[in-house]
Structures are given as structure tokens and as C-alpha cells.
Symmetry: none
């Protein structure tokens, strides 16, 4: 068994991704989660580059991590000075991180045209920087930037740079496909060349510009790399870094000669993936391999039917191995096996009831409904079909008005709403940025006195799709709403020719679902319960 | 040079993706775009599975495609009947598609446990189905489902199934990694086994469950496959199919022994990728290799600095090769060349004017506009920036009202509109199925007396997308409208917090574009022309 160590750079290279911005607090929380996951090395930042990164090292050194070692990242010393005079070097040592990762130039063109130093001085910069950090008692990882491009351009020089790092005492030498342009065959060949030049342990650091970061990292491991660098979810500059979720799952589940993380780790992958997305304020990538919400979602009726006969018929692994779950989507391609699979035994439907539900689903789908992203509306649909559903309020009427006049360019929107709750009439008016926002505000204004728990919930997303596009603006529209409280996220759907009425239906389902899951008392149910 | 043919299944396998739902109109438009791109085979659907797919074949056969062949997809015949009695087979032939793709079982477990037929009967089903479609004059592609898993489980039987297809006359035999679980080494080995068993051309069909679909497709090509099946953007069930954008770009730019699509094709990849996302009403994946908006976006200060010294220092390819563009996220340097490319010389913009237009585009994109699918709005934007644009009418005010009352469940919608056309005030009221429909009706009612030519145009499609989803119903929405007359189809866009105002803006652009292309006389221009 070869043990592969995992080096995470979510907090440094990951934060170079477009739109990614971690607070200091985020960075500390993520570090703890990664430590629990069993990640071996956590790169916390580039202490010289910004105050947040140096603050991170001040904070994290007060904590005792269970397993992971924290790493500080920096560049080789500047030209023409000694390493101990270099501010970057100093900041690495002052970070007190037990591991220092130094990046240096491998590609001769970068040395001469970008750094603008001569080739010999670059070798000295590598040697001095590694030796200095070693002399300060640190474990030193040497990142050979552009290793694969440099090797192509000037093989002899590229290999000299990593030999310089080795001679100065680097503990691991990491070959970086910085521009993400290499193909797996070249990665394999180049790793063999590296192995024939140095005897230090080798690592691999890939970017996903050619959609090959996972394959390239695995190819490198097959050719001697024992450290993989990457980020959770593959976030990072341009197309991102190697996605550690995919690499770790492939290594742990499909490559029997290798050992990675800890025995319990794989089962936590999905949770950690989502935690990082939440921290980065990014949307989940639903189709992400292994950990995405759709990774084990079955839509085709034929597939669902087959899954009932043999669980592995359309899944490459058992989803729980990576902490994910199987889902059955309800769509125009469904059979009753989807319905039974979808409700997951919650309602203990008989075969007859399942058929009844399926018929209703197909009717509604014909009208343009879709339940695959709207589990909450589907849940309510089943209750309604079973005849056990009591609404929490009844609509009497609404009116939504948007208007501009000659003095102002922006429209003003107002919604009035009259409903009956517990035999009382609520008649309210509210404004909003648009008709749906105004209607949502009116519903809350009318219901919160009776159901204060609704304050907990908020709308997270709102989508509109025309169902039969050929009819132009008279077409039917489908509105999908995603709502959340502190525990759950749920989806609801409404369809109508009128976008306002479609939105109303999705909004009502969202509120009804919240109230029913909190076991509030519906309208007309008091008599029964008293 | 080995030519690799590209088989696109966006319209069939792609539509199995969670949340993907193409209208018939979308499917026809996409087919035309794929034909222009130079895709060799376009799988239109599964004619038996739903009426939309069979309608697609009825429509597409009326059109003449430039290069692509349309393919119909189906399964082998059912057990115990002849192929010509099978409804699925019949629907394939009735589709009149010149190519028929038949999927059959390779994995013995699937034959016995899922299909529940004996192993010999499955071979007969394959043989009969392929032979029947060949006898009807079709080119037949045989998709060997679960080829890689089947081969592992029962090598001899798996190879028998593809030999059966070959003996019956299959023109291409496609090895499918249906569950997406294979690693590249196994793909390579298995393709060699297939090659040693059959002499028909081989193809590869991968899924991305292990984040290896691109690597696996390329490995198959290195081991003899000459057809690649996949979808644009990799959309599809679970984690999706092979992303043709990545595969085609890697083949065309990095693998000199292979030829793919047509010489001009790669430069259109980014545009086609975005067109598919727009049609599917899905968000772009910003970090998508080659075609993503962030694929050549540089954030790190060091990288931007280096790029100024050597253009290829942090890019694996020149972005324009795939129709994409370099972006600098810190300094807002940018490509006016894009603007020039987009307007295609129509306005003969000077350098200065291009910069002015670019600034306005960037401002609007910041607000949530997107011009990819809205050439008509972009055309108007240029005219407005050049100061040569005169509107055809001016809005004074509108009011849109939707209301229900206790006697009726369905809302009634009314729009009033006051505009100025040729110094006359038009004040009208109209009803509609919803607010946008009512507004559209009011615009027509007010304008048709002055511009009867508007009777020729109609709205074809209407889409809404939330731009900053995190704000829930108060988020900004982008409305995209597609309009047509007997000659043209054009797209327009409007963005606002209020969906009614956003729709108004897109509707107005649509009407203005129609009038300007028909060279009608705008408001205030009479004096000049008289």
C-alpha cells in the first residue's frame, strides 16, 4: 500500500477563484473542518501578500489541530540578497507554520522574461530559500511552478531547478501544471523524468484548464507522486485547481494500491464540500462528481425501473460511501417506481395510492409542472391526494398593481391580499420591488400574526421558465421557488399563464410546507384537536 | 491524420440532466446551431418515449442541414417478437432519420437481472434490431451500454454482444461507460480488447461520474475510437456526459495527429456553449474549461503582471482560438476587439466608438444584462451609443393590474398604456393572460395604427432568469424575448428588479428593432425626411 498525502490549498490558491472571498473567521472554521476530515496539510495563505493571511497564522497557532499540519506559502527570495534579508522569507518563518511551501521558477522563459534574472541566479534563489527555511527547522515543500511547460521548453534547465531544491534539503518536490494545459500522457512521462533526476518524494499540483486535473493527478500518482495538492470542489483561478473531492474518492474507492486520508474520511466528503461552498458564498455545482446534489439523481424512468431490480445498475459507487444520497426525480419520464422511490416510504403508499399520485403528477406535468426540484410541492401533492391535507389559510382575493407615471421612470408595485385564517379575515397591503416580492410581503404580513414561526423562513431562489414557448407571452410559465430556514431548504412550484398567479401558487406551497413541517395547527383543525 | 467524428446527444442524453427541459422550438434552434458549428451527428431524441421527440423528427425532416446528419435513438427490440413488430423499431424507422442509434445490453447481470431475458435472446435482440434498421436503408450506430463494466464482469459475453452487432451490419460500435465509473487505464485496455474482437469503426460514450469523462474519451481515441459521443457543456443525467467543448478543444489544439469538426469550428465553441445554456435556461458554469467566463480570467496580481511581460505565461492556449476572451479581474483592461468582432463591421466603428460601446456593455453586464442571445438589443445599444438612434415612440406611463376576487379563482389582468407617437398621444387599455401578455397587447394596440407592419411580428419565446439569486424575490431578473417575422428571428433583453419593467424593456427593444430593420420612420424624423 502506498500512502498518498493530501495537501489542501483552498485557502490560498482557492481564494484566487473569481468571486471567492473568505473572511478570517471562514478560514479558521474551514481549517478545523479540514482537520476533522483528515487532510494532511492545510495551506493557510501567503503571509506577505495581505494582512488577513498573516492574521490567520497568528490565530491558528493558538489552536491544537488533531492531525493536519498548517503550511505557509511564499516565493523564493528576491535576486541579489541573502535569504535571511528577504521580507518574504522572514514572513514565512514568522508565521510559525511548521511547513513552508516555496514556489520557484522552472521554465527558463519565465526566469528570463518575467522575473528577468539570469538562469544561474534563479538556481541560487531556489537553493538559498529552501536551505534557509530548513535551517529554521521547518519542513519545506518545493513547488516547481510550470514544471511541465518548462520541461518541454528546456529539459536540462527544468531538471536542474528541482535538483537545486533537493540539494538544499527540500522534503517534497511538487511538479506543478500551473497553466493546466498538460495531457495525462505528458504528465506520466514528465513524472518519470523527475523521478530519474531526484530522489526526494514527489508531489503533483494541477489546474483544470483542459478538464483533466483529476486524470492528471491520478496519472502522476501512478508515476510516483505521493502528495496531491488541490482544493475542495476544485475552486481556484481560471478553471480552478484539482478537485480534491474527486481525486480522494477515486483513490480511496477505485485504486486498491493506494491509501488516502483516514478510514472515516470519505463518508464526510459531501458535507465538507457543501460547507466550503457555503463559506465561499458560492452555489453548489449540482452535477459535481461524487458530492453534487445530482450525482446520484435518477431521472429516466428506465433507469429508475432498473435501479429497483439491481442497485448498482446505474451507479458507479454506493452514494453513502462519500456521504451523498440517491435521489429519484419525478419527471415526464417517470413510472410509479419513481413515485414510490421518491417518497421513500414516508407515506407508506399502497400500490393503488401510488397510481393515483402518479396520475395526478402526469396531469400536472402536462400542464407544465415539474417536481424534480420541488420536493415540498410533491410532498403536499401526496397529502392532498390522500385526502388528509388541511390548508392553513384560504385566499379570498388579491390584487397586484405595478405602475409608472410621467414623472418617474421606475414602476411602483403594491399588492393587496384578503385571506381567511382561523375564521378571521386578514386584509393587508404591502409594497415590493416587483409583483412577486410585493405578494410575498403581503402573505407574510397577513399570516405572521397567526403563525409567527414564518419569520424563520426566507426565499433563497426564484426561477421562471416558459413551458410552451410557442405561445410567446401568452405561454404558460413555471415558477420554482427555493426557501430555507435554519435547518432545511425546500423547493416549490407553481404553473399558470399568469406569472403572478404561478408565483402565488409556489409561494403558498412554500408557506404551507413550512407550517406543516412545524406541525402548526391548520385552519378548521381546532375543532378536531380540542 | 485521423479524423474523429463528433456525435452530439445534448437533445437526448443531455435532456436527462436535472432541471434540463428543452421545448420543441429550442430543439430545432439548437440543431441548426450545431449544424453551423460543424457537428457530424445530432441525436434528436427517442421517438417512442414522448410526443415532443417524435414531433422533433417531423419538423426537422423539412429542413436541409448543411453538414450534420440527424440521428434517432432507441432500444433493441423487445423479447420474443420480430423487429418489424416492435413499436420502438417502428418509431425509429418512421422518424425518417438517416441514422439510427440502437442501445443494447453488454453486461450479463443487466441482461439476466434487469431485462430478465436469457443471454442468447439478448444476442438475438441485438442482431435483429441492427439488421432490421440496416435493411430499411439506415446507417446504424450500436451503443454497447455498460461496455466497460460488462467486460469486467464477463469478458467473453460482452465481446459476443458487439460481435453480434457487427455481424448484423452496424456501421459504428460505440463503447459506453454508462455509469461513468471507469478509469483511463481501463478504458484504454478495454478499447484494445474491442478492437481485437471487431473490425467496425469504434466510438466512445462517457459519463462524468468520476470526473474523468474528458480523459477517458481522449484515452479511447488514442486506442482506436474514431467517434466521440457527448453533449455541449457536458449536461446530462447525474454528473453529465462528456463535455464536447473540452474534448473538441483538446483534440483540435493539443493532439496533432487528429482532425475534428471543421477548420472554423473551434472559434465558435464559446458562443455555442452559451447558446445551449441559454436555451436550457441554465446558468453558465463560469469555471468551465475553455469556454467558461472565468477560463481566462486573471485575478492574482502576480499573474496579471506576468501576463503583461509574456502573454502565454499563465494561459495554456490563446483564448480567441475557442472564441473566448482574456479578462483581468483587477485592472479592468479589456477587449474592444470583442465589440468589433461582435458587431462584425456592420457599423464600421472607430476605435474610440468601440471603447465607448464596450464601456456601456460592461456597465450593463454589471447590472445583469447579457447580450449573447440578444443581438437585437446589442444592435440598438450600438445605435444609441453612436447617438444616431431615434426612438419610434416614447412612453408616458403604464399600469398593470392583476386581480382575483372571491367569485373567481383565476386572476384578471389589465394593462393601460400611454405613449407618444408622432406627436400624438395614444392611451389604450388591453387585457391579457398575464401581465406581460397584457403589456404586449397594449403596445400593439397603441402602435399598430401608426406602424401596421408590426402585425407581421410575433413573440416566439420568453425567458426569465434571476440574476442575483441570493436576494430571493427581491432579486434582479433578466427577461429574454425572442421575436420573429417571416424572415428573421431576433432576441432582446431587459433587466430590472421588477419583472414587469424588465419585460417592458425587452418588449420595447423587440418592437424598435423590427421597426428599424424595416426602415420605418421614427418619431421626430419626419421633419428631416420631408
Amino acid at each position: 500500500m502506498t500512502r498518498i498525502s493530501i495537501y489542501d490549498t483552498t485557502l490560498r490558491d482557492g481564494s484566487q477563484g473569481e468571486g471567492v472571498d473568505f473572511s478570517l473567521q471562514d478560514k479558521l472554521l474551514i481549517t478545523r473542518r479540514f482537520d476533522e476530515l483528515g487532510i494532511d496539510y492545510i495551506e493557510g495563505g501567503y503571509p506577505l501578500s495581505n494582512p488577513k493571511d498573516s492574521a490567520f497564522f497568528n490565530e491558528i497557532r493558538k489552536e491544537t489541530l488533531r492531525h493536519a499540519k498548517v503550511c505557509a506559502f511564499g516565493m523564493t527570495r528576491r535576486r541579489g540578497i541573502t535569504a535571511d534579508q528577504d521580507v518574504g522569507m522572514k514572513s514565512l518563518i514568522e508565521s510559525e507554520a511548521p511547513v513552508v511551501t516555496i514556489v520557484g521558477k522552472t521554465w527558463d522563459m519565465h526566469v528570463t522574461d518575467v522575473l528577468r534574472v539570469d538562469l544561474e541566479e534563479n538556481l541560487a534563489m531556489i537553493r538559498d530559500s529552501v536551505a534557509y527555511c530548513r535551517s529554521q527547522g521547518r519542513e519545506v515543500f518545493y513547488d516547481a511552478e510550470h514544471f511541465f511547460d518548462g520541461l518541454k521548453n528546456n529539459r536540462e534547465y527544468a531538471l536542474k531547478t528541482i535538483r537545486a531544491a533537493e540539494e538544499a534539503g527540500a522534503n517534497v518536490i511538487i511538479a506543478c501544471d500551473t497553466n493546466g494545459g498538460s495531457l495525462p500522457e505528458w504528465i506520466a512521462e514528465a513524472m518519470d523524468l523527475a523521478r530519474s533526476s531526484v530522489s526526494a518524494p514527489l508531489g503533483i499540483h494541477c489546474h483544470n484548464d483542459s478538464d483533466l486535473a483529476t486524470a492528471n493527478s491520478l496519472a502522476a500518482v501512478e508515476h510516483g507522486a505521493t502528495q496531491i495538492q488541490g482544493t475542495i470542489n476544485g475552486i481556484g483561478e481560471r478553471c480552478g485547481n484539482t478537485d480534491l473531492c474527486a481525486v480522494v474518492a477515486n483513490l480511496g474507492l477505485k485504486m486498491p494500491g493506494f491509501e488516502v486520508l483516514e478510514p472515516e474520511s470519505l463518508g464526510k466528503l459531501t458535507e465538507v464540500s457543501r460547507f466550503v461552498y457555503e463559506s465561499a458564498n458560492m452555489n453548489f455545482r449540482t452535477g459535481q462528481p461524487f458530492v453534487g446534489a445530482s450525482a446520484f439523481a435518477h431521472k429516466g424512468g428506465m433507469h429508475v425501473h432498473a435501479m429497483a431490480r439491481a442497485a448498482n445498475s446505474y451507479e458507479h459507487i454506493e452514494p453513502s460511501l462519500v456521504g451523498n444520497e440517491r435521489r429519484f426525480l419525478i419527471s415526464e419520464l417517470s413510472g410509479q417506481s419513481n413515485v414510490l422511490a421518491f417518497e421513500g416510504g414516508k407515506f407508506e403508499l399502497t400500490r393503488e395510492q401510488a397510481v393515483k399520485v402518479l396520475n395526478r403528477v402526469q396531469e400536472l406535468e402536462h400542464e407544465g409542472y415539474q417536481f424534480e426540484a420541488s420536493e415540498a410541492s410533491f410532498d403536499l401533492l401526496i397529502r392532498r391526494e390522500l385526502g388528509e391535507y388541511k390548508p392553513f389559510f384560504n385566499r379570498i382575493s388579491y390584487r397586484v398593481n405595478s405602475e409608472t407615471d410621467c414623472h418617474q421612470d421606475e414602476p411602483i408595485t403594491e399588492a393587496t391580499l384578503k385571506i381567511r385564517v382561523h375564521d378571521q379575515i386578514e386584509h393587508v397591503v404591502a409594497e415590493g420591488d416587483g409583483p412577486v416580492n410585493a405578494l410575498d410581503a403581503a402573505i407574510r404580513k397577513a399570516l405572521e400574526p397567526s403563525y409567527p414561526i414564518l419569520k424563520e423562513m426566507k426565499l433563497v431562489d426564484y426561477k421562471v421558465r416558459v413551458v410552451n414557448a410557442r405561445a410567446g407571452t401568452a405561454a404558460r410559465v413555471r415558477v420554482t421557488i427555493e426557501s430555507s430556514d435554519s435547518h432545511d431548504v425546500w423547493g416549490t412550484v407553481g404553473v399558470h399563464e399568469n406569472i403572478i398567479e404561478a408565483s402565488w401558487r409556489a409561494l403558498v406551497d412554500s408557506v404551507e410546507y413550512k407550517l406543516s413541517k412545524e406541525q402548526q395547527t391548520p385552519v378548521g383543525a381546532e375543532a378536531v384537536s380540542s
